[in-house]
Symmetry: C2
Subunit: 575 residues, 2 copies
């Protein structure tokens, strides 16, 4: 019954079929990654006709369970050249699940130079020429126009001008319940969508049957236990709801792991000005919303509506990583400026991590001065103009580094290293180095155990225990990314055993299965091996699992270096 | 006795030692590649302190043998990320040999932001601050200033503004006997020199002992036979001297293998306007020099002094590949414009192949119109200005393709594919795909046998015999690149057995050895394996030995495609 929909943008053929047997037991990242590993030619050009873009909700997406709103997007990444799963909130994934759509697969490349809107509804899928006015338009306004045309509740996946230009930093943006923007940010999947000339995908779930639950009573009971774990845990119950992810600024600064001035030091004097506490105080004083969910059913509500001094909305999903990259790494001591930069990234359609880390590299190159917020904002606005400088920035930190001949370029597999210095939070450094995704904290968030003391404690400055930590977290994360749950549930289920059991019980109740915790771990391993296998066939080796050599420099204040041997690093994927 | 000189640009320490035993039997490309494979960390940043740049003359460089003027330069390439040997004419290599210097090795990176001139003389090596006036200056004028300071006959190796900017298309330029420019063009070695803050290396051989010949009589006799082969063979004795390498335009056009409009077709209607015959007619009419040697002792004399309508010198070393890239691939039907572009490439210090192929990709991107010579010249002039657009272009064809989101980007291992369509000259296609150098016709010039019927004949449009042809030519070329001989001698020694024997006899006579032809072939294999081994440790796999997927399109007029399977391609390095 479950629908597996293929849309060939070359021939415009739409095939709505049953889910192939080989993908039946998969969802979310598990499905997108095994699909890409199975069907995409590893050596293909990421922007060519052999790449495929797949959207797949997770096992529990769209159910009544708390925080079950995630959608996975997969393809060969034009940024890294490897496999990519990038996931997002918003309303799109829940609508897919309610419509019993296992996956949307976009294949081929049109020959004609036109942009399209793909419309997905219960009566089928149509490929329509995009309204001329939205081509080249920013995401905020284009979403409004599309929802005016296709219905105010229509789910929207869209690329901005950056995706149209096929820049490797381009993301796919998704409308949230208030028609604001969430993103499948990393890895340049917006460029893949742009190469297929899809300006937007709109989804209308009117008449959808809703998510079927095999055992509703068991589901309800497990769901309650799961919610209890989330509300009980201090991170998911208190820290994130109150301050958002940006609570981490002061924590990482205290730990000496907040990369400052393009990873020159791990602590600075102005961190508190840009931290979550200041951000929340701003919103409270100005009439913003300090807490907000990016999808229906979110109870962590780490998002917010950040507003200007007049109370006017600037941005939401205003995350620690973006604040860090401009505020600490680029030395810009002004939250409002950073908020406008975040909005510009969302509107033009680029990954705000990749782009803001690239701004730090641009400062390294001398293109703009350190700490100059106004110049940084103008620089990001170059992307929309399609100028050569805008294209360089829009292609990410690695591109800026290459065009300006720099060595101090924080990337792994050409993807920007985010907000935790690998020398001072060594577990996440191993994740950056080894994940098939390119530098990505979410692939194995060892910050939890190194800094937040979630799931135990491993000394962030030492090497002991880090290989196992990164490995186990990467395995667990690949599984969690398949559930359709927000990754932040991991804080709760790492510490509260019944929360983890409840998650497994919900999957069992939905599908009438008898999975155990071991099965979940086994799934995580299968996914990682498929991803790594794809990368190997695409030309990756252990030599790509390395951090940039400048991390051999000592990082103040702890004066730590990146001191894992190649052999130690290579142990992470020895499972 | 033979000196092996290491210059550490970090500490400014100079070490003049005997050649290490392990490098004793090596020279030219054999020495540079085995040195790089041995001493450079394969995963290092090419512009960082762990990369090393080595200059090494070949076995016969600087002797009285015809065409013995080549110098090999080696390092990890910032363009490809793999090993690089790039060789050049000019006076530098011969002076090194006469001074009994086996190699000059440049290591480390200065901390201070200053450019240096390294002076090599019989009384030692000094590192001097570069005259302020030459920093940022083009090569033509800077060479004049350096020769005014260090002597009119001083050998000069220099980087232009592109190398200072560490652009990945930057070359190293070498003064020829008339103080014009030859280049170690490919692979961005100028950026490596720039990263080490070496604006120039000047070499003064006053007081040099000269090249020692163990058995002068045998050498003289072999040298005579060798010269005889060169003058007898129609390519080295007639075609190249009369028309230069640009004789190939009409030949390749006739063969349907002259890539036109960014590799869309293999033949065009205006080829004769830009071919060698027209070029020579121009020079004869205007008072240029149709034939000229890039180093002392060259008897092929494929270079020239191309002049404007008033007889004023524009450029020399005006090669087929550059004329092709702008004239056919970029559809610019005007030799003078192309000559000015070639001069600009030499003066700013970029590889004229990489840069002119990049111009074609810029046309593909719509940055400038097809066939617009004036716009192409202005575009190349952006490099000197250091604008974002200039930097993109100066980083090569792959960079233009990435920043503009294109798939029709003719590169292998990020190095631009030169002037022979791999679909219509399939043997050289295999060389592009598999050579450790990135796309490079000189690594295994199957054009000789596919098109010129030198060394036999293998049908250029068919697959039969091409794997063996490319393999054998790559092996032979690695050896020839170690002799210090111009690669063009290969035309003669492939067809005239006594020419090849004479070459071996000269090496034996110089060093008092008893090498056979088999030893030469064995050396070629050792070199290729060392190069490929380095690349493998740097992260290359067979997946990188692939042509861009657009070559699956049919190429008119023969409507041929690139149809080798992966398995067939991988056979080239099965030896």
């Amino acid at each position: 019954m479950t629908k597996f929909i293929r849309i060939d943008m070359g021939s415009k053929a739409v095939t709505i079929g049953d889910c192939p047997e080989k993908y039946a037991g998969l969802a979310g990242r598990g499905l997108t990654s095994i699909f890409v590993a199975d069907e995409v030619k590893p050596t293909c050009h990421p922007l060519g006709k052999y790449n495929k873009l797949i959207f797949a909700p997770g096992f529990l997406t769209g159910t009544s369970a708390a925080n079950s709103g995630r959608l996975s997007c997969g393809a060969k990444s034009p940024l890294t050249g490897g496999i990519k799963e990038s996931n997002t909130g918003g309303t799109f994934g829940q609508k897919m699940s309610k419509m019993d759509i296992k996956a949307l697969v976009f294949e081929g490349i049109p020959e004609e130079d036109k942009y399209y809107v793909v419309k997905v509804a219960m009566d089928g899928v149509t490929i329509e020429e995009a309204p001329a006015e939205i081509v080249g338009m920013g995401n905020y306004e284009a979403i409004k126009i599309l929802q005016a045309k296709y219905g105010p509740k229509a789910g929207v996946a869209i690329i901005g001008p950056a995706g149209e230009m096929r820049l490797t930093g381009a993301n796919i943006s998704f409308a949230d319940p208030q028609s604001n923007i969430r993103s499948a940010g990393r890895g340049g999947l917006g460029a893949v969508m742009g190469s297929k000339k899809i300006k937007a995908v709109v989804i209308d779930d009117a008449g959808a049957p809703g998510v079927t639950i095999a055992n509703p009573e068991a589901f309800k009971s497990a769901s309650k236990r799961f919610t209890n774990a989330l509300t009980t845990h201090p991170v998911t119950g208190q820290g994130l709801p109150k301050y958002g992810t940006n609570i981490l600024i002061n924590i990482l600064n205290e730990a000496g792991g907040l990369p400052t001035q393009n990873f020159r030091r791990g602590r600075n004097e102005w961190a508190n000005n840009i931290g979550g506490e200041s951000m929340t105080a701003n919103m409270e004083a100005r009439g913003g919303k300090p807490t907000h969910g990016c999808h229906a059913g979110c109870i962590i509500r780490c998002s917010q509506h950040y507003v200007d001094a007049q109370g006017k909305y600037i941005t939401s999903g205003f995350e620690y990583e973006t604040v860090w990259a401009l505020g600490a790494n680029g030395c810009i001591d002004d939250l409002d400026t950073i908020a406008y930069a975040d909005r510009e990234c969302d509107d033009v359609g680029v990954d705000s991590i990749e782009t803001t880390v690239a701004v730090g590299v641009a400062m390294e190159a001398g293109i703009i001065p350190w700490g100059d917020g106004k110049a940084a904002l103008e620089l990001i606005k170059e992307i929309r103009k399609g100028t050569p400088l805008g294209r360089i920035l829009g292609c990410g930190a690695g591109a800026v580094g290459r065009m300006y001949g720099l060595t101090r370029v924080p990337v792994v597999k050409n993807q920007a290293i985010p907000a935790y210095d690998p020398r001072a939070v060594k577990g996440v450094g191993l994740t950056y180095a080894t994940t098939p995704m390119g530098a990505d904290h979410t692939s194995g968030y060892a910050v939890a155990t190194n800094i937040l003391k979630v799931g135990g404690f491993v000394d962030p400055l030492g090497k002991a225990g880090q290989v196992e930590l990164s490995r186990n977290l990467q395995i667990a994360t690949a599984a969690v990314d398949s559930t359709g749950m927000c990754l932040f549930i991991a804080f709760a289920i790492l510490d509260i055993a019944d929360g983890f059991n409840a998650l497994v019980d919900m999957i069992n109740a939905r599908y009438n299965l008898a999975l155990t915790g071991d099965d979940v771990s086994a799934l995580g391993k299968i996914i990682l091996k498929a991803e790594r296998g794809f990368n190997q066939r695409a030309g990756f080796t252990n030599a790509h699992d390395r951090l940039p050599e400048f991390f051999e420099e000592e990082l103040p204040p702890h004066n730590v270096t990146w001191d894992f041997t190649d052999e130690e690093i290579d142990e992470v994927f020895n499972f």
